[in-house]
Every structure is written in C-alpha cells, then in structure tokens.
C-alpha cells in the first residue's frame, strides 16, 4: 500500500502524425507527474486531459482485456494499460500497421487477415444442442488460445515478420486453436504453412511479450511437430 502514494515525473516523447495533413511524423515531448506505479496509459490520458487536447489515442477497458491500446514504448510493443511507466519514454504507434492518427492504428487489415483464415470450427455435422464431448483439459487449452487479445503486440515484436513473408505469431496461435478443437475437421497445417510458419526464428519474443501470457511460439512448434510426425488425430 505504501507504493500507492510515491510520485514520479516522467518524460514522454509522443510520435504525432496526421496522414491527412502532415508531411511527416514528429515527436512532441511532455512531462507528467503521477504515482510511481501509473501505467503508460495513465500518462497518455493525463497528457490528453491537461496538455494536448488534440492527441489521438485509443483505449477502452484499461485492464488488459480489449487489447486496443497497444503502442510501442522505447521500441517495445506493450499494452499501454498494463505497462508501468518509465522515467523516459518514447511512445509510438504499433508498427507495422497503418496509422490513422498519432497513436491510433487502423486494425481493419488485421481483421481481414483473420477473416481469410476462417477461424470457426468446420464441422462434419452440425452441433446437436447437447454438450459437445471435449476432454476437460483440452477445453482449458482451447480456452487459453481463445484468450488471445488480438492486440498485435507479438506481431509488432516479431523479427521474422519484419524480414520474411510471415503473417505473425498471433495468426499461428489462432490456427492452432482450430487445429486442437475436436469439432474442427479442417487440416489447419497448410494454412499455417501458407501463413509463413516456417519463417519463425523460434526466438520466443512473442511469448515473452504476450500480455495474455500465451505462447504463440509453442503453437508454432506444435505445428512443426505435426508437420514432421503427423497430427495426433
């Protein structure tokens, strides 16, 4: 409880850019005073409320669930609402996505990519309106994959996405969710391959940064194992 009242002053350099009117992005520097454990989002909100009424930023839940506040802080993608502030921060929109303005990205292309993967169980027969037989442990594993926030922190961090034809960790994880779902009859491995699964370096950065504590890297390793040894079912 004692840490509640400790105060800090942080310096935040925010990348400002309005594609409809600005020739190029520029950094604007702000100072914010607040509790030591304030989150990056608290800093951004305070800037909007007190210093830059025209700042464009995005958040909704403030608790790490909607996944829409992701930004880069000193080059590392994070959820602004979860990341504790640092004394000096450079805050930028999440790359490599198109910027609408300032810290807000256009997520429509991300959902186009999800849509192309058809992430619904492809059933041999329709659900019959009684509990579907699923092993309880497997159900929990599916739930874990289904807890992916689609925040794109992992895709932003992934060095393979940067250099190679790879959709990114989040998309592999969702394909894996389908692959282990007992109702899904579709072979998801070809989709993972087409999405660039083999381009993954195995660096595990996605796992380290995932705000939902998931491991997209493990999903990729599981697909690779299936590719060599065959899927268990």
């Amino acid at each position: 409880m004692s840490t509640v009242h400790a105060t800090v002053t942080v310096t935040a350099e925010i990348l400002r850019y309005d594609p409809t009117s600005d020739a190029a992005p520029r950094y604007q520097t702000f100072e914010v005073k607040g509790p030591a454990n304030m989150r990056v989002l608290d800093v951004i909100r305070s800037i909007y409320e007190g210093q830059a009424a025209d700042l464009a930023y995005q958040f909704a839940c403030r608790i790490g669930r909607c996944g829409t506040c992701a930004v880069r802080v000193n080059g590392t993608p994070v959820l602004a609402c979860q990341e504790v502030c640092k004394p000096a921060m450079r805050i930028e929109p999440l790359s490599p996505f198109p910027v609408l303005r300032d810290l807000v990205i256009d997520r429509s292309e991300i959902d186009d990519r999800y849509a192309a993967l058809e992430l619904v169980p492809q059933r041999a027969v329709p659900h019959d309106g009684t509990p579907e037989p699923v092993d309880p442990k497997l159900a929990l594993n599916i739930c874990a994959y289904d807890s992916c926030l689609a925040c794109m922190v992992c895709v932003s961090a992934c060095p393979a996405v940067d250099e190679r034809p790879f959709d990114g960790p989040a998309f592999m994880l969702k394909l894996r969710q389908m692959a282990i779902h007992p109702a899904d009859q579709r072979n998801r491995l070809p989709q993972a391959l087409k999405g660039g699964m083999l381009e993954c370096f195995g660096c595990d950065l996605c796992t380290q940064l995932c705000p939902a504590d998931l491991s997209p890297a493990q999903a990729i390793r599981d697909f690779r194992r299936d590719m060599i040894f065959g899927a268990p079912r």
Partner: protein, 583 residues
C-alpha cells in the same frame, strides 16, 4: 462549422450499433435471416463491455437435477424485486441454454468436469448451482463470435459512432446518421431497421467497471427517437472492485475470490467483509444470506460504511478471502491472481491477507423499453442487451447478463431482419434532417470554449454522489437542477480544440456528453419519482420497500420535456410470445 456538411450515403437492411455480444449475436441472426447487415463499433470492434465480463453464464443445463427453468425464472424475479417484465424474464430462463449451445457451436469450450459435463457454480443471488463459464471469459465469447461474423462476411465498421436514427414524418426509422470518427466524415445509412446494442451507462459514474465507450449513447438515441425507457432509475453496482491504483479503480474483482467456498456450496459462507472497526457490517443488512447476499444489498452496505467514515483511508472496506479456494482460483482465473499480485501484493494474491474492495458502477438495469422481440415503440428501432430494460427488474443476478445479450441479441436480429424486408425505405430518405443534425454537431469545431472532458467529469461526480448507490429527494432535485444548468449554460460553450477531424476525441466526447446528460436526467428523474427503496434503488428518505410501488416507471419525451409515468407490471406467469413470422 459547415452549414451544409457532406454526408456519404450508404445502404443496408439492418444497421446495428454496437459490436459487443448483443450486437454480434443480432448481426448473426439478421444475416442468417437474409438481411444485409452493417455493425457499427464506436472504437475498434473488440473494445466492448462483453470483452470485460467474467463470462459467467446462467442457464439451466439439466446437469443439476434440482434446478429447472421455473427456478431460474423465479430467481430472476426475486433478484429483480418483482418488477421485471415477466415475459422477458421467462424468455431469458427458457432460451439461455440454447444460446449457450450456439456459443459452443461457434467454438467456445465451456469449462467442464467430464467430456460432456459442464462445471457449474453458484452466483450472486441465485438459489441453485447453475452457472456455467469458460476460462476465456468475455474475451473468448467475443472472439468466437467475431469469427462467425467474418465467415459470414458481415461488415464491421470500426470507429463508426451512431449519432441518431433518421426517421420519416410518421416516426418510422429510415436510416442511421453515423460519424465515421476515423475519417471525420458523416455517413447516412438508409436502412429499414436499426438495432441499438450499444450497452450501458456505466461511464456516467466517477467509478465504474465498464469500458470507456459505455456513455449510454444508444439509450439516449432511442429516447430522442421517441422510444420509452423503463426501469432507468436502477443502476447496478458491483460490490467487489479494486480500490487502487487509480487506473483500475472500479474494476471488478471476480466472484470466486469473494465467494470462497460458497462458489461450490450454497450453504458455505462467502468471504467476510469488515469495516475499519473490524465489524461484519453486512449482518446488519442481511443476517440470512450474509456476505452471500445479492449485489445490491452488498454494494449499498459497503457504500454506507465508506460514506459514514468506517472505510479504509483509500476508500474501501476489507474483504477476508478464503485461502482454501486459492488452488482452484489460480487454475480457473489465473489472470485475476496476477492482477491482485501486481496491484495489491503477494499475500492478497494468495488470498492470505485482507483485500480492499469498493463498489463500482457495473450494469444499467433499465434501458429502452422493448417487447419480447426487442421492438421499441418506434417502428424499425430494435434494442437488445444492456441498452434494453425490463429483463432484470430492480437488480440482476450475477451471471445473467451473458445469457441476456445472447438471447435478446438474437431476437433483435431476427425481428429487425423481418421488419426490414417490408420497410420499403428509399435511399437518401431523411437526408435533409440528417444534414441539419450534422451541421448542429459541427458548431463546436474550431471555436474557443470549455473542454468536454471537464464537463464530463462534473456529470460523473454528480451521478456518483447523488444518483448512485445512496439517493435522497433533495440531492436528486439539486442534481437535476445542475444538469439543467449545464445544458443551458455550459453546452453552448463547449468547444473542440483539435483542428483535425480524424479521430477527434473531444468531438466524440462532446457528442457523448449530450447523450450522458439525456440519460443522467432520465435516471435522476425516475429515481426522484420512485419514493421507496427497491433492488438497486436506495432512498435514504424512503428506506423501505413499498408494495404500492410494485410497478414500472416509464420515461419518455413529450415536446422536448421528460415525462415520467407509472405503468403496471408486465406480469405473466408463463410467457406466450406473440406469434411471429420468423419462428
């Protein structure tokens, strides 16, 4: 600014405002009934209240032989202090499980004890072990649904804020006026039906658990279009929320931590709540159910301790958790353990030390008055989910919002598709009105004046202090006066600082503020009219429940003024929904 703002014309059969579960379920149903559907999201599609839910879902699964839909219906009425719309409560009890199977068909995997046996638990106010859930919570529910929209190729328009419905001279919906915040452009969708699925009003309060988008937009839009609101004086507060740090103050702390062994056993005690004198103050309010009481009783009991100076310095009370449930809590809800760890400390995360808790605005029990097919009084205007009123009455069972938004989302979608089929709306109908309204909302752009964010804070403080958990006639009257002053002298001075039309947050907040005032006035007016205490509505000047008030208050607008009137209950022991072609 511009007297003749440019409006991009588009067409659809059904326009749905809101991308939470109610909106998405409506979209699926309307699409499957043959309608061309557009879903509008005020922010990114995933920024919704459903997403934040624990996802606990009341339904009669047949796995508890003692439970049945009549019992669920009765629990809903008991919790709602008897003033629920019985037809809607009946539908909720009858259809919840079918919609849970829909979610399973979409790919959700409910927690289970065995391959075909869901795990059941207790929930606030329920009398049977009934509630199902899944470890992916509201996130999982929204994820499986969004992919259902994708395979149907349903358009989800991010950053599209519904501003108002467009009606013809007969008062029938012919379109939706929408501000595309991402481009700063106006759009008018000509459509036969609009579904309001914009969620609740928790952002009207200083401390709330919901997402920042829940400013009551859809309910206000319904009211302005001529629909009536019902039970709008009832706002549900979750009793058990985080007290600090500031960024998450008000976020709910999940029921398993609070319920302890009662989570599994209805005869066990829930975690004890203590004031700063170490007293179990809940016993004064509910000696029978004690800390396992309904959310309204607990929230009020905690708030009174805080208001009367028996809270902690941070503004909460102490919850004594039950260490024995830590293992299952960690397994079922690891994210909450992490959250307790990060914000409170290890001993609290291990459920070994007292946890500070406070109430927080959670769920809008009232809303637009609907019939069993989610029709408002305005032809072509449908409402589902938290934006609608009547299902839960004066208080809601924990775990009943998730089935509500599925059951009534689907009904709204089906009925809207049916309505739109024969609506015969002409493209561009009502454009003149839409242009005038858009021009009016452009006036604060680029002028100097007051910032909306400051006024928003004033409204939130007034609502929290006087239209929240503890209410009295004098304060409600002074709050209404304050709202009227803000409307008269502050709104005309509002200004939008930023020059860019793209993602102009102040512009959005200005539009939200008008909605917040419309709804704040409705809530305070109805709260003032209801001279008794019932469910979530507590009047210090009328502290007892009064059988004469076993009725609903309906709020409407007559010639611009709010009109609050009493209506008899919709009481049917067993609902027979009106014959409807869609079924």
């Amino acid at each position: 600014m511009s007297q003749n703002p440019e409006i991009v014309l588009e067409q659809a059969d059904v326009v749905i405002a809101g991308s939470g579960a109610a909106g998405m379920r409506a979209a699926i149903a309307a699409h499957d009934a043959g309608a061309r559907v557009v879903v509008l999201a005020k922010g990114p599609a995933r920024a919704t209240h459903t997403r934040m839910s624990g996802g606990r879902y009341n339904a009669v699964s047949g796995l508890n032989p003692d439970d049945n839909t009549d019992a669920f219906f009765r629990d809903t009425l008991d919790s709602g202090a008897g003033i629920n719309d019985h037809r809607l409560a009946r539908i909720l009890a009858d259809e919840a499980m079918d919609r849970a199977y829909d979610l399973e068909a979409y790919g959700l995997t409910w927690d289970r004890k065995a391959a075909r046996e869901f795990s059941l638990s207790m929930t606030g106010g329920g009398s049977f072990v009934r509630t199902i859930g899944s470890a992916d919570e509201g996130i999982g529910i929204t994820e499986v649904m969004i992919h259902q929209l994708h395979v149907r190729d349903i358009r989800i328009a991010d950053f599209h804020m519904l501003v108002d419905t467009v009606c013809d001279d007969a008062g029938r919906v012919v379109g939706a006026l929408v501000l595309d915040l991402s481009r700063g452009k106006w759009r008018m969708f000509s459509c036969g039906a609009v579904i309001i699925a914009t969620g609740g009003t928790s952002q009207l309060y200083e401390t709330s658990s919901g997402p920042t988008i829940n400013t009551g937009d859809g309910i206000a839009i319904g009211l302005r279009a001529g629909a009536e609101l019902v039970d709008i004086e009832f706002m549900q507060f979750i009793p058990i929320s985080f007290v600090y740090p500031r960024s998450i103050r008000g976020y709910t702390l999940t029921e398993p931590a609070h319920y302890g062994m009662r989570h599994y056993d209805p005869t066990a005690d829930a975690a004890h709540l203590l004031n700063n004198k170490g007293e179990r103050f809940v016993l004064k309010h509910d000696p029978v159910r004690k800390e396992g009481s309904t959310r309204d009783v607990l929230a009020r009991a905690i708030m009174l301790e805080i208001l009367e100076g028996r809270g902690t310095p941070e503004g909460g009370v102490l919850m004594m958790p039950d260490e024995r449930v830590f293992g299952s809590f960690l397994r079922e809800r690891p994210i909450y353990v992490k959250r307790l760890l990060e914000n409170y400390g290890e001993a609290q995360a291990r459920l070994q030390a007292p946890i500070q808790v406070m109430p927080s605005a959670l769920y809008t029990l009232g809303g637009v008055r609907i019939d069993p097919w989610c029709r408002s009084g305005v032809p072509g205007l449908f409402v589902g989910g938290e934006a609608a009123g009547g299902v839960h009455g004066a208080n809601r069972l924990g775990g009943s919002s998730m089935p509500d938004i599925q059951v009534f989302g689907r009904r709204a979608g089906m009925a809207a598709a049916e309505h739109a089929r024969d609506a015969g709306v002409q493209p561009g109908q009502g454009l003149g009105w839409a242009k005038a309204r858009a021009a009016q909302l452009e006036t604060p752009l680029g002028r100097d004046g007051l910032r909306p964010v400051e006024v928003k804070r004033q409204v939130q403080k007034l609502m929290w202090d006087h239209v929240g958990l503890v209410r009295c006639g004098d304060k409600l009257r002074s709050t209404l006066q304050a709202f009227s002053d803000i409307r008269r002298s502050v709104l005309p001075q509002l200004a939008v600082t930023g020059r860019s039309r793209v993602l102009n947050r102040e512009w959005m907040e200005m539009i939200e503020l008008e909605n917040m005032l419309d709804i704040g006035e409705s809530m305070a007016s109805a709260a003032l009219a209801r001279e008794e205490t019932r469910g979530a509505h507590y009047r210090t000047d009328f502290p007892a429940i009064d059988p004469a008030w076993c009725l609903n208050l309906v709020v409407g607008r007559r010639n611009g003024d709010l009109d609050v009137r009493k209506t008899p209950l919709m009481r049917f022991a067993r609902d027979t929904a009106p014959a409807f072609a869609a079924e």
